[in-house]
Symmetry: C2
DNA sequence: TACAGTTTTGCAATGATGTTGCAAATTTTA
DNA sequence: TAAAATTTGCAACATCATTGCAAAACTGTA
């Protein structure tokens, strides 16, 4: 497993460092999306806050993770399942946030539907977040 | 106009104060959704930062405004067009964020479509944000 | 494996963003 | 208009995020 993670970094032309390996492993084992704060808690205090910020940013730029919008000032990040091109993401799936356990889950198989916009609006990217009860809490 | 605003406060059983009137007016004249920071800048420095936080929170609880999720840690607020019941919002419309001018616009007439969730997931509320070019920037 | 060049990390300093308690001011109610 | 209730502003504080820079780690090459 640790090897897979290492390969993923190499494939994306990134230096292989302890911090990056550790954070990536966290994502692989996480039950859902992770916020900066989650990582800070879980990633044994060896990793500096600043490094986490920079790592998340780099991962996002490389298309390894994507952000999930939220209405409470707490952006979360999740692995991109299907390979995302650098800079151009294809995380076109719906995200689910459980009101009970708080987990944020990527519903990789549920695609964001198209909507008809008013005249003059040109869509580039869509995001959809559904709140409710997840399969474990129901 | 100022009278309408005053009535809206009364109808929602809120004290009518200068800060609230001023902030509400801002929303009525704003081209799009407003973030806390926007209000702080526009609302002549008479109003304290803390008051803005508290006012926004109260407005949201009363259903006068609703929050719009974003992927960059910057929640925005917009007026609820159709009356929202206290605590229970009906802002079931799509939000549009222009990549060019940055404005966040409520597309009141475009409803968030339903999606079919995997077994075991029970939806309560949906949010959809579309990025692209708005009718003015295109 | 060692070395030079490049990238990444950690620290410190700083700035922006939110929150809380409490007294003073304002608004509402009677 | 006076008393009661609500709201505001200030101060202090906690959290979150960004930047510059020197030290440390990593990469490719010999």
């Amino acid at each position: 497993m640790s090897e897979d993670v290492r390969d993923l970094l190499k494939k994306n032309h990134m230096s292989v460092t302890d911090s990056r390996l550790q954070i990536l492993e966290l994502f692989y084992h996480a039950p859902g999306a992770l916020a900066h704060a989650d990582i800070e808690k879980k990633a044994s205090d060896k990793i500096d806050r600043v490094t986490i910020y920079r790592t998340l940013q780099t991962f996002e730029e490389k298309g390894i993770i994507h952000t999930i919008p939220s209405a409470d000032n707490s952006v979360k990040y999740a692995l991109c399942k299907h390979e995302c091109a650098e800079g151009h993401h294809h995380d076109n799936h719906v995200h689910f946030v459980c009101d009970e356990c708080g987990k944020t889950i990527c519903l990789d198989d549920v695609l964001v539907p198209d909507v008809k916009l008013p005249k003059g609006f040109e869509p580039h990217q869509s995001n959809m977040v559904v709140n409710g009860l997840c399969n474990e809490c129901k």
